[in-house]
C-alpha cells in the first residue's frame, strides 16, 4: 500500500512513476493505431481492435481510499487474492465459456465496486488484455466519481439513442489500463432502460470488442436490475461482505441469481491476522520476479 502514495503523489519535479510512464507509452489521447507499435509486446486481437479504435484516455486520480491494491501494492497478500480470482476466472475464459462477467452483491456497500476495479486491473494484465468496465448501476454510479474522472456520455445515452455507438463513449482509464463505459446522465427510469430492447444490442456489440467485459450492477435483493443484466452476462460473480452481509440476503441473492450462472462468491473484507497472508509474500515476491 505504501507504493500507492508514491504513485499518486509524484515527487515535485520528479519523474512520473514508472508504471504511468510505461502506460503512457502504450496509448495516448491522440495516439493513432500505429502508436500501438510502441508497446513492448504484441497485443492479442481484441486488444488490437481496441487500440485501433483510438479510445480516449482518461487519467484517474487514484487515492488510497479507492483501495486499488492491485495497482498500488501488487505484491501484497490482498493482490494475491485477486490474482487467484483471475486464475479461476481465466479457466473459464480460456475455455470460451466466460467473457462477460456480471459483478453484483446482495446489498449495497458490500464492496462490489472495489472488487470490480481490482479485478479489472488484475484481468487487464498490464495491458495484455482489454477489459471493459460497464458502470451499469444506474441508480448509484460511483466508479467515475471515485476515480475523479470527468463526466462524459455513457450507457444511458447509448440506451436512449440507439444511433449512438457505445464504443464512442468508452474511455481508457489510466494508469490501470482498462476501459470504462460510465453510467452516463442520470435518468428517472434506469430499470426500464436496462430492460429495454437496446440493452441487448449494446451489450452484444461491447462483448465483441473486448477480451473481458465486467458489468457493475446494482445490488440483487433490493432491485431487479441485476437479474435483468444477468441475461447479458456469461456468468455472475457475487460479492458479499464478511461480518456484514446477512445470511438471509446471501441466500436470497443466490436464489434469485440461480445456480447456473453463478461462477463464484467473493467474501470481501475478511479480518484475518496479517501473518496468514504475509506468509505468501515471500513466495509471491519470487513469482513476481519471474513475471517481471
Amino acid at each position: 500500500m505504501s507504493h500507492l502514495r508514491n504513485l499518486f503523489n509524484p515527487q515535485p519535479g520528479g519523474q512520473k512513476p514508472q508504471r504511468l510512464e510505461h502506460l503512457s507509452k502504450v496509448v495516448s489521447p491522440t495516439s493513432s493505431a500505429s502508436s500501438i507499435g510502441v508497446a513492448e509486446a504484441p497485443l492479442p486481437a481484441a486488444a488490437a481492435v481496441a487500440a485501433l479504435l483510438e479510445f480516449a484516455v482518461e487519467q484517474a486520480q487514484c487515492r488510497p481510499e479507492n483501495r486499488l491494491v492491485f495497482q498500488a501494492d501488487p505484491r501484497s497478500p490482498a493482490a494475491d487474492r485477486f490474482r487467484f480470482l483471475r486464475m479461476r476466472l481465466r479457466e473459464h475464459w480460456s475455455a470460451g465459456k466466460l467473457k462477460t462477467l456480471l459483478i453484483t452483491s446482495p446489498l449495497a456497500n458490500d464492496g462490489k465496486s472495489t472488487i470490480l476495479l481490482n479485478l479489472a486491473t488484475a484481468l487487464s494484465e498490464r495491458g495484455k488484455r482489454s477489459v471493459l468496465v460497464i458502470e451499469a448501476d444506474l441508480h448509484h454510479s460511483t466508479i467515475a466519481a471515485d476515480l475523479r474522472l470527468r463526466t462524459w456520455p455513457g450507457l444511458t445515452d447509448c440506451l436512449l439513442d440507439p444511433s449512438v455507438s457505445p464504443l464512442a463513449n468508452i474511455r481508457r482509464v489510466e494508469p490501470m489500463g482498462w476501459y470504462l463505459l460510465p453510467a452516463g446522465e442520470p435518468r428517472r427510469n434506469p430499470t426500464e432502460l436496462l430492460q429495454g430492447p437496446a440493452s441487448a444490442k449494446v451489450m452484444q456489440k461491447l462483448a465483441e470488442s473486448f477480451d473481458w467485459v465486467l458489468i457493475d450492477s446494482p445490488p440483487v435483493v433490493p432491485l431487479t436490475d441485476a437479474i435483468a443484466l444477468q441475461q447479458f452476462a456469461d456468468a455472475t460473480l457475487l460479492i458479499v461482505r464478511a461480518g456484514k452481509t446477512p445470511r438471509g440476503a446471501i441466500e436470497q441473492a443466490t436464489t434469485l441469481l440461480g445456480p447456473k450462472k453463478l461462477v463464484g462468491i467473493v467474501l470481501n473484507a475478511v479480518e484475518r491476522r496479517n501473518h496468514e497472508y504475509y506468509q505468501g509474500r515471500y513466495y509471491n515476491d519470487a513469482a513476481h520476479n519471474l513475471e517481471d
Binding site: 497478500p77 490482498a78 481490482n118 458479499v240 463464484g264 467473493v266 467474501l267 473484507a269 475478511v270
Partner: protein, 523 residues
C-alpha cells in the same frame, strides 16, 4: 467471538461492578447483636417428678416465638427503643412489625437442628445502630426466659387444677355407684349370692326340722290311734278328728265303710308324704308332686263320700274330737285315757301347725335360692361398674399428686428453663452488607452478563466471517476470501483505536480494582 465482542463484555462487567459497588457504598452498615440461650432440664430427675409439659423443644420454641414476637409486644419495643424512625412516619404498624420480624432471627443450635434435635438457640437482632441492637437483643432474651417460666408454671398449674376437678367428679360418681350397690343389696337381701350358702344351710335345717316334725306327728297320730283304741275298748270309740285324716280302725266284726276306707287311704298318703319331707324331698320333687296329686284325689273322694253318707260321729274322719270330759261315772282309767287323748290331740295340732310353718318357710327359702342366680348376675354388673370407677378414681388421684409435685417444682423454678450462655453482644463490625463479597459477585455477574450479551449479539449476527463458514452454508463453484483493504491512514487509525481501547480498558479495570480495594478496606 470474545475478542470481537470485547466491548460488550468489558462494558457490562465494569458497569455492573461499579454500579454494584456504588450501591453497596451507599447502603448503611447494619449491626447484628446475638445472644445464646441453652435449655436446662428440670433439676429433679424425672423418675421422681414427672413434668407436666412433654412438648419437644422445637414446639416450645415455636410457641415462645408466637408469644414473644406478637404484634403488641413488637410495637411496644419499636416505640420504646425508637426503632425505624424514618419508616415509622410512612409505614403502617403491621408493616413495621413485619420489618422487625425480618430483622429478628431465632436459630436453633445443636448437632442436628434440622431434625428438631437441639438444646440451645440463638437470638439475634439487626439494625443500623450497634448499641440499639444490643439493647433489643437483651430485651428479647429476657422476654424469652420470663415467658417460658410463666408458661411452664401456668401449664402445670392448669394441669393440676384440671386433674383435681376430674378427681372430684370421679369420686362423686364412685360414691353414687357404691350407694346403688348398697341399695341393691338391701333390696334383695336374702337373695344375694353371698347368702346362698346360708340359705342352703337354713333350708337344710328347716327340712330336718320338718322331717322331725313329720315324724313326731306320725308318732302322735299313731299314739292317738292307740289311745283311741284303748278308749274304745272301754267304751264306744270317739269320732275321728278332722283335718288330718286319721285311720279308722274297724271295730271287731264291723266292716269299714267306703268313707272310712277313703279316710284311711288319705291318712296313709299323708303319712307317706311326711316321710318324703323327712327325707329331704322338696315340694317340687316328682315323688312329692305325685303323692300330692293322690292326696288331692283322696281328699275329694272323702268329701264326696261325706256328702253322701250321713254323719256318724264314730265314722267322721278328721281330727279326733276332743274326748268328752270324764263324767263322774267314768272310770279313772278312762279319764286318764281321755286326758292322754286330749294332750295327744293338742300335740298333733301343734305339730301340724309346726309342719305348715316349716313348709311355708321352706318354700320361702327355696324361692330365695331360685332368685339367687339372677341376683348374682345383676350384682356382678353393678360391682363391675363400681370397680372400674374405683380404679379410674385411683389413677386420677395418682396423676393429681404427680401433677401437684410438678407444679410445686415449677413454682420453685426447678423445672425446665432457658438460661443465657452468651448475653447480648455489642457488635463492633457490621454484619451486612458484605460489600466485598457482593461486589465480587457483582463483578462476576457483570462478566457473565457481558458474555451472555456477546453470545446474543453473536447469535443475532448471521453474517459470515470466513470462507469456511460460507462454504458450509452456500453452494457455489468457488468461494474466495479477500482481506480488508486498508489505507495507511486507516491502519494508523486502527492502531490508534486499538491503543485507545487498551487504555480505556485498562482504565476501566483500574477503576474497578480501586473500587474493589476501597470496598475491601472500608466495606
Amino acid at each position: 467471538m470474545l475478542i470481537r465482542r470485547r466491548w460488550w463484555i468489558l462494558c457490562a462487567a465494569c458497569g455492573i461492578t461499579l454500579a454494584t459497588i456504588g450501591v453497596l457504598l451507599m447502603m448503611p452498615n447494619m449491626y447484628t447483636s446475638e445472644a445464646t440461650l441453652v435449655v436446662l432440664a428440670q433439676q429433679v430427675p424425672q423418675r421422681y417428678v414427672v413434668p407436666n409439659s412433654t412438648a419437644d423443644l422445637d414446639s416450645t420454641l415455636q410457641a415462645m416465638k408466637q408469644e414473644v414476637l406478637s404484634r403488641t409486644r413488637l410495637l411496644r419495643m419499636i416505640n420504646d427503643f425508637g426503632l425505624y424512625p424514618k419508616k415509622r412516619k410512612r409505614l403502617a404498624p403491621e408493616q413495621l412489625v413485619s420489618l422487625m420480624l425480618n430483622d429478628i432471627d431465632i436459630t436453633p443450635l445443636g448437632e442436628r437442628p434440622q431434625e428438631r434435635n437441639f438444646d440451645a438457640f440463638r437470638i439475634s437482632y439487626t439494625t443500623d445502630n450497634a448499641l440499639l441492637a444490643q439493647q433489643v437483643t437483651s430485651t428479647l432474651t429476657s422476654l424469652f426466659i420470663n415467658e417460658h417460666l410463666r408458661t411452664q408454671e401456668e401449664q402445670s398449674t392448669n394441669t393440676t387444677k384440671f386433674l383435681h376437678e376430674q378427681v372430684a367428679e370421679k369420686k362423686a360418681k364412685l360414691e353414687d355407684q357404691e350407694r346403688r350397690l348398697s341399695e341393691f343389696k338391701i333390696q334383695h337381701m336374702g337373695e344375694l349370692p353371698e347368702q346362698e350358702q346360708g340359705n342352703l344351710g337354713i333350708l337344710q335345717g328347716l327340712q330336718n326340722q320338718l322331717q322331725n316334725t313329720v315324724t313326731s306327728l306320725d308318732h302322735a297320730q299313731q299314739q292317738r290311734m292307740y289311745l283311741q283304741s284303748l278308749l274304745e275298748s272301754h267304751r264306744r270309740p270317739a269320732p275321728a278328728a278332722g283335718g288330718t285324716t286319721m285311720p279308722v280302725v274297724a271295730e271287731r266284726n264291723i266292716p269299714l265303710t267306703p268313707l272310712q276306707t277313703a279316710q284311711n287311704q288319705l291318712s296313709l298318703l299323708e303319712s307317706e308324704r311326711a316321710q318324703l319331707y323327712a327325707k329331704g324331698r322338696t315340694k317340687d320333687h316328682p315323688d312329692v308332686t305325685a303323692i300330692n296329686r293322690e292326696i288331692t284325689r283322696a281328699q275329694e273322694l272323702v268329701k264326696r263320700l261325706k256328702a253322701e253318707t250321713p254323719l256318724e260321729p264314730e265314722h267322721v274322719a278328721g281330727i279326733s274330737a276332743p274326748a268328752p270330759p270324764p263324767t263322774v261315772t267314768d272310770d279313772p282309767a278312762v279319764a286318764q285315757l281321755r286326758s292322754q287323748v286330749e294332750s295327744n290331740r293338742m300335740e298333733i295340732e301343734n305339730l301340724t301347725k309346726e309342719e305348715n310353718r316349716l313348709k311355708t318357710t321352706i318354700n320361702q327359702y327355696e324361692g330365695r335360692l331360685n332368685q339367687t342366680p339372677m341376683r348374682e348376675q345383676q350384682q356382678a354388673g353393678i360391682v363391675r361398674e363400681t370397680e372400674a370407677l374405683r380404679q379410674e378414681y385411683s389413677e386420677l388421684q395418682k396423676k393429681e399428686e404427680e401433677s401437684q409435685l410438678a407444679t410445686n417444682l415449677e413454682k420453685q423454678q426447678g423445672g425446665q428453663q432457658f438460661r443465657p450462655v452468651d448475653t447480648a453482644s455489642l457488635p463492633l463490625v457490621p454484619s451486612r452488607p458484605k460489600r466485598l463479597k457482593l461486589s465480587m459477585t457483582g463483578a462476576a455477574l457483570g462478566l457473565a452478563l457481558g458474555i451472555a450479551l456477546a453470545f446474543v449479539m453473536e447469535l443475532r449476527d448471521t453474517s459470515f466471517r470466513s470462507e469456511k463458514e460460507l462454504k458450509k452454508r452456500v453452494t457455489a463453484p468457488f468461494v474466495l476470501e479477500v482481506p480488508v483493504l486498508q489505507t495507511r491512514g486507516e491502519e494508523r487509525r486502527l492502531k490508534l483505536r486499538y491503543m485507545l481501547e487498551w487504555v480505556a480498558a485498562s482504565g476501566m479495570a483500574f477503576v474497578v480494582l480501586i473500587a474493589e480495594y476501597y470496598v475491601f478496606k472500608h466495606g
